[in-house]
Symmetry: C2
Subunit: 243 residues, 2 copies
Amino acid sequence: MISKNQLKLLRALAQKKYRKQHGLYLVQGEKNVLELLGANIPAEQLFASAEFIAKHQSQLEGINVIEADSDSLTKASTLTSNNAAIAVVQFPDTQPIDRAGMILALDGVSDPGNLGTIIRVADWYGFKQIVLSEECADHLNPKVISATMGSFVRVSVVRTNLVEFLADYDGAIYGAYLDGQSVHSTQFATQGVLVMGSESHGISEQVGQYINSPITIPAFGGAESLNVAMATGIILDNIKRGS
Amino acid sequence: MISKNQLKLLRALAQKKYRKQHGLYLVQGEKNVLELLGANIPAEQLFASAEFIAKHQSQLEGINVIEADSDSLTKASTLTSNNAAIAVVQFPDTQPIDRAGMILALDGVSDPGNLGTIIRVADWYGFKQIVLSEECADHLNPKVISATMGSFVRVSVVRTNLVEFLADYDGAIYGAYLDGQSVHSTQFATQGVLVMGSESHGISEQVGQYINSPITIPAFGGAESLNVAMATGIILDNIKRGS
């Protein structure tokens, strides 16, 4: 049973200000909750169906599990479809930026679905961290977690003042533009930063002044642009194919 | 003013059965309607704000334009945000499959957002046609049109019995799997078919029997899979980089 107070907390955690206030975020749906359990990230509370509990009993030791029926879980969920499990999790520790290898940095990516999709494709290409400018969507937004399809447990997120970080960075700084060097002919450095801009404005001027290697995905047809998550995936593929 | 009967028609066209019955579909939002006008595809009716009409007067000759305020347009729209224009358009003519070059075929891609995103990235890479299995989402669904960001005017869609088409096709048939040859080392033929499978089940068994070149996007990290639209974009980039 989900109590009235518990339901109130779950609903509140859909909002950034209450996540911050409680230091808690939500992980919802079978796939994402199983990734959480598999990564041994402790849940404060786990609301789950009897079926889910029976199926994954061995992974639930030491966790405060509250059984609830599918209807209550769906009602409590902040997502449109969820009838298996909802975990309440403490904020991850903040981490320093790992300066080894290629760093993926996002400048003002504000759509939670895009951010989650980028975390997923970054995980596919073996990136263990993403750097976000302060204008990016909150990476603990339930829609972001959901769109990562479990990759949130493998990719840590550092939110920082991107302009200051880049001003201080010594090396190749690639930025995705519509008129840079083709990614098909770019020899990517093994160390560097790749900056992807926002959905509506691209890379901001302030960040742009630090880009020393503008790059472009060559177009062969009539579309004016690509979605930022799609563009990120294609560029990461070009970076990794040579590595 | 949008009359009661006009509103009824707009609402009905959100549904496939009424689109089929009337032979009409909707194009909504400034970007997509401008692409429609730019491509000289005649609209049966165009509902638009006074501002939109004033701004694009020169492109509206011969079109039945009905002025409406933003509130009415937003109310009439089947999308969450639209306050500029809604066009009612006749079904495009059915076209034969163009067998020259690489053919992109989708097997059961059922999410309208994914289908629209695939049409957009196909347009970016210069594909003028996409072949859909009969199980794919309706490409005239408003959510598909919206997600194409205007590319629906440049990419024609042929819906066909994909199994029969492939049975009859003589040449390289590539299919995206999780255990095929790396797309980084594949020398793609200049003529062939690329088949992308559905979100939940991948390529169906019936279609799979005709795939003679299974391919894979190499993974470097922990994510189990990529979204089908993302995977399509990455594979098209790999096909086009060698061309």
